[in-house]
């Protein structure tokens, strides 16, 4: 039901399961949603909800049937052709694990450009660094010489260096302190405006998701419980009990509360 198939993501009845011992664990069960061009779609859920797995499936990092993920209206098989890789990039959660420990920032940003034979690499790298608020003094440093916030900036720069139309963000600020998180969230908001990116943002933190996203899907145990616009979420008028529970819990601890049980 798409009027403009540009930079649109469509997830259609996605199922992902993993082998665990002798059985299989269904990480994602029948998830469907649509993200229109330029929108920021949020997926919020607790651990084990399958939110990261959905993102992995959109990126082709876990096996999924090609009919389940459509980008710009085209079905995307798990193995992608090189040109399709430029459409979509990913920012990972752990700033300490998403950069190759033995490569300088310059090398990390250069490689995607080399793979896709982009001209003027130096200029592209310098521009990418400036865009994320890093200076030339960071260009030839190794990841272990950078702080968590700086590493995430490099990760974002890497994701943007090929000028993708879609950005997938998997809890990019969960491992960061609150003030650094604020800087990164501001950065993401600015980049999204400047580049009209389509994004899918996954987090366990309702306030963070609400800050950046227009529409939010709430996931639990592999399924989408409810999808709602951010204004509704902020007003606390969620449809499902689980969402309301999440909203209440995110307000912090209250001694006067009635007793929830484990």
């Amino acid at each position: 039901m798409s009027s403009q198939p540009r930079s649109m993501i469509e997830v259609d009845d996605l199922h992902v399961s993993f082998k665990r011992g002798r059985g299989r664990i269904a990480a994602v069960q029948g998830v469907s949603f649509v993200v229109s061009a330029g929108a920021t779609f949020g997926i919020v859920g607790e651990s084990g909800s399958g939110k990261s797995t959905v993102l992995h499936a959109i990126a082709g990092l876990v096996p999924a049937p090609s009919s389940a993920v459509l980008i710009e209206g085209r079905p995307m098989p798990t193995t992608r052709v090189k040109s399709d890789r430029r459409l979509l990039q990913y920012v990972f959660q752990d700033p300490y694990g998403s950069l190759h420990p033995r490569q300088t920032v310059d090398r990390i940003l250069r490689e995607p450009l080399e793979i896709h034979r982009v001209e003027e690499r130096d200029a592209a790298i310098a521009a990418a660094l400036a865009d994320v608020g890093l200076g030339p003094e960071h260009r030839y440093r190794y990841p272990h010489q950078l702080s968590g916030g700086q590493r995430q900036r490099v990760a974002i720069a890497r994701a943007l260096v090929l000028s993708p139309r879609i950005l997938l963000l998997d809890e990019p600020t969960s491992a960061l302190d609150v003030s650094i998180q604020a800087e990164i969230l501001n950065l993401l908001a600015r980049l999204r405006r400047e580049r009209s990116l389509t994004s899918v943002f996954v987090s366990h933190d309702l306030a963070v998701v609400a800050h950046l996203c227009d529409t939010i899907a709430v996931m639990r145990l592999g399924r989408i419980v409810e999808t709602l616009p951010v204004a509704t979420l902020r007003a606390g008028e969620a449809g499902s009990a689980y969402t309301r529970e999440l909203i209440a819990a995110s307000k912090g601890y209250s001694r006067a509360e009635g007793l929830g049980e484990a």
């Binding site: 990126a59 992608r80 430029r86 979509l88 793979i115 896709h116 440093r141 272990h144 702080s147």
Partner: protein
Amino acid sequence: MNDVLSPPSSRFAPSGRDAAPRSQAQALLGSALRRAAALRRNLLATIGLAIVILLVVFAIAAPLLSGGASPLDQDLSSRLLPPSRAHLFGTDDLGRDIYARVVYGSRATLTIVALVSIIVAPVGLAVGTMAGYFGGAVDLALMRVTDIFLAFPRLVLALAFASALGPGIDNAVLAISLTAWAPYARISRAETASIVRSDYIAAIVLAGASPARIIFRHVTPLCLSSVIIRLTVDMAGIILTAAGLGFLGLGAQPPTPEWGAMVAAGRDVILDQWWVATIPGLAIFVVSLAFNLLGDGLRDAFDPKSS
């Protein structure tokens, strides 16, 4: 955007050169210097390194350092002389100067160690990284072959190969390499299997990198430190295997001096003329120990957590 102020966590993170490197070359140099500094701080490892360097110097400059004596000149009137000013380590049963033979013998040792390393590390890395990256049937096939080579006791297998191939240093190198590569495949595979699960590999896959690029340029550099460290620790074993082959008459052939063969030759007279077998034995011991100490130091210097 304000983030140029120094971030909190870097106060506790060690940083070598604080001035920012301005090019890739400078970055590499800085990294190498930091590792060298870490190594230098370990006294035993530095001693090990010094001895290894000495080995190389002796091998290259053997004619200069042997004090003019030839390792091959026999003088039957001076057989089995004890250490003296004329003959620093005494003479063997054919009257040859043992000091000169030990110095020249370092060439055989160094040749074997260098050649074996050059063969064994790349082969082990190639097999291991491919097995770890592709998994499945490739992993199964490659690892079973590795297992077969791992199952044999090194010296016995080396002996078998050397006997089949015939005596001589080249064949000794080949025989030792055939027995020594398997652990490197196993190490590389284990490292690769865990590296491949990391986010930075996923990121480069998402950028469109081919498996070849990933294995050569991303995975292998990370396996390299484990392989190098294992290599230095293995040196002792390789030297001893070579000595063992020499002892049994395979490997370097007389009259070329080779420490293991020298120990064998001194066997018969060990009780009365102890120096003939003991001195070359000590040489083997010192060099093996040096490599071991160096390997330990390298392991600490290369430890990603501390670098």
